[in-house]
């Protein structure tokens, strides 16, 4: 009797396993075509010279030449790497601080759903359109931003037309576009902190700042970690905004590629304009390793505080 039951349960188990794999089969199929193959192919390409037109298996083997070229000889690549680092650190950290401030303010005001919408509209707007709108706003002679600055008798800036200001200008737009998203995550995180901690602190005579430093920040650590990790992964790959606001923008004047170029843009041009598929793949791998290293460092640093959710 018991044996029979065990056998039946076993049979059900193995049947369940079969169905489990069956339900996952679209995913397996997809990942073998659109993940395993591409990554292996990219790896192969990054050691070969290939222009997409000849059969890839006949491509010339160049060993690590692409990597040594990129990291030693190609000044442009090192510059765009530096630009991207600057962009990623700047947008993620400033954006995070602003989002936290706004989220704290929202948790204390009424009508927050209207405000939430105002902050969130840029998040659902195509980055392409955002890039073009801001390209317009930034125009040095008649853009809205300089017009407003002049009302307050402040000097107008060159914004996207100046090699020194172009990248920071794009970063301002990037922060504006992303702050609503981060804010929502923070609002969710703040809601998760029990009110009684603050009550207890207040009874002990703690002011707002002490409450913020000793209650809010430590308990918000998982949220901060999440925002940091996902934000960095996204920011390292920034493309749309820079594409729209650099060389091709409307009336933005032309700044040299080195002053605004990011890894994604450089790679896009290397691959789809100059047809150097091997070198572009090598760039993608370097980018991957950089992103991986950053993610691991972030996890390490913040984990030390005893965050267990990752």
């Amino acid at each position: 009797m018991v044996k029979k039951q065990v056998r039946r349960r076993k049979r059900r188990k193995s049947k369940q396993a079969l169905i489990g794999y069956l339900f996952l089969s679209p995913v397996f199929l997809f990942y073998s075509i659109f993940l395993v193959f591409p990554i292996s192919f990219s790896l192969y390409l990054s050691f070969h010279r290939w222009n997409m037109l000849t059969p890839p298996l006949k491509a010339r083997y160049v060993a690590v030449k692409h990597f040594t070229y990129l990291l030693v000889q190609d000044e442009t690549f090192l510059i765009v790497l530096k630009n991207t680092l600057f962009y990623a650190l700047g947008t993620v950290f400033i954006g995070m601080i602003l989002a936290l401030i706004v989220a704290l303010a929202f948790s204390r005001t009424k009508y927050s759903s209207i405000w939430r919408f105002v902050y969130f509209a840029p998040v659902v707007t195509p980055p392409v359109a955002i890039g073009m709108i801001w390209g317009y706003l930034y125009r040095p002679t008649d853009g809205l931003i300089n017009t407003v600055l002049r009302w307050f008798h402040l000097p107008g800036q060159q914004w996207l037309s100046s090699p020194a200001q172009a990248l920071p200008s794009i970063m301002i737009t990037g922060i504006w576009a992303g702050v609503g998203f981060t804010m929502l995550i923070f609002i969710a995180g703040l809601k998760g902190i029990p009110e009684m901690y603050y009550d207890a602190a207040r009874i002990d005579g703690a002011n707002f700042w002490q409450g913020f430093w000793h209650i809010t920040l430590p308990l918000l650590k998982p949220t901060i970690l999440f925002v940091l990790v996902t934000g960095m992964i996204g920011a390292w790959q920034v493309f749309d905004l820079v594409f729209m606001m650099s060389s091709g923008g409307i009336d933005t004047g032309v700044v040299p590629f080195e002053s605004v170029g990011v890894v994604a843009l450089h790679m896009y041009q290397t691959a789809f304009r100059y047809m150097r598929m091997g070198r572009a793949s090598a760039m993608a791998f370097i980018l991957f390793l950089v992103v991986l290293a950053f993610t691991l460092i972030e996890l390490r640093v913040l984990h030390r505080g005893g965050v267990e959710s990752y």
């Binding site: 919408f117 659902v124 760039m283």
Partner: protein
Amino acid sequence: MFLPFLWLILASLQSEREIMLRPMVFIPEVFQWQNYVILFKKYPLDKYYFNSFLVNSSITGVVLLTSSLAGYSLGKLSFPGRELIFKGILATMMFPVFLFLIPVYYLLKRVPLVGGNDIWGLGGVGFLHSYPALILPFVVNAWGIFLMRQFIIGIPNELLDAARIDGCSEFRIYGNIILPLTRPALATLGIFIFIQQWNSFLWPLIITTSAPKIMTLPVGLQLLRVAFASARNQHYFLAGLVVGIVPMVILFLVLQRYYIKGIVMTGLKG
């Protein structure tokens, strides 16, 4: 925060003369609605809308199916390697899209027997100039699987066991219990994927630059600046941007609740 949008909408309703005035004016004397009429006559934004809609609803539909199937499997069925597979799927989110661009482009070009290709996938363009090129690479979404699994795992096991004892197959459990119960999560995921894909630019840019027939809205918007490059056409250009933005913003306004729930879910459980 909202000022750029406000300015954009007002400026798009100005006349050619007003928009050139310096110092600039904000509110047009007469709202020039015909800017929009002329825009649609001069520029095929409706075609880009159609393409975007077709591509993104296909992606969304298939993502909902694959995510819920995989989510059920990973959340409620037991089989060896389940946790490893789940972690592996999560890890895929770390790969930059740039690792995939070239290989997937090449792969789509070599699909046999379509787009003028022979049986070896040579001679033609494969899928490159047709909708599958924009749809196929996005039909499985790691984040979607994650979201569905988190949601499905919360469904009580007793419910599923009761159905099993009554002789329900796993397919019927999926169709008659899991799908109806996960409707809120499906709504969230659907809106999320739709908006994300609607705004996506890099891949459509690579694919449709040489295939204007399937061009999606963001790529079409980007070409506005070429089409209306002269200063005399600025108002059309700005009207085009409004047309590109407003529908998505309205959709978001209506469905805000679900969208925000999705963000909150990822933020807290990530």
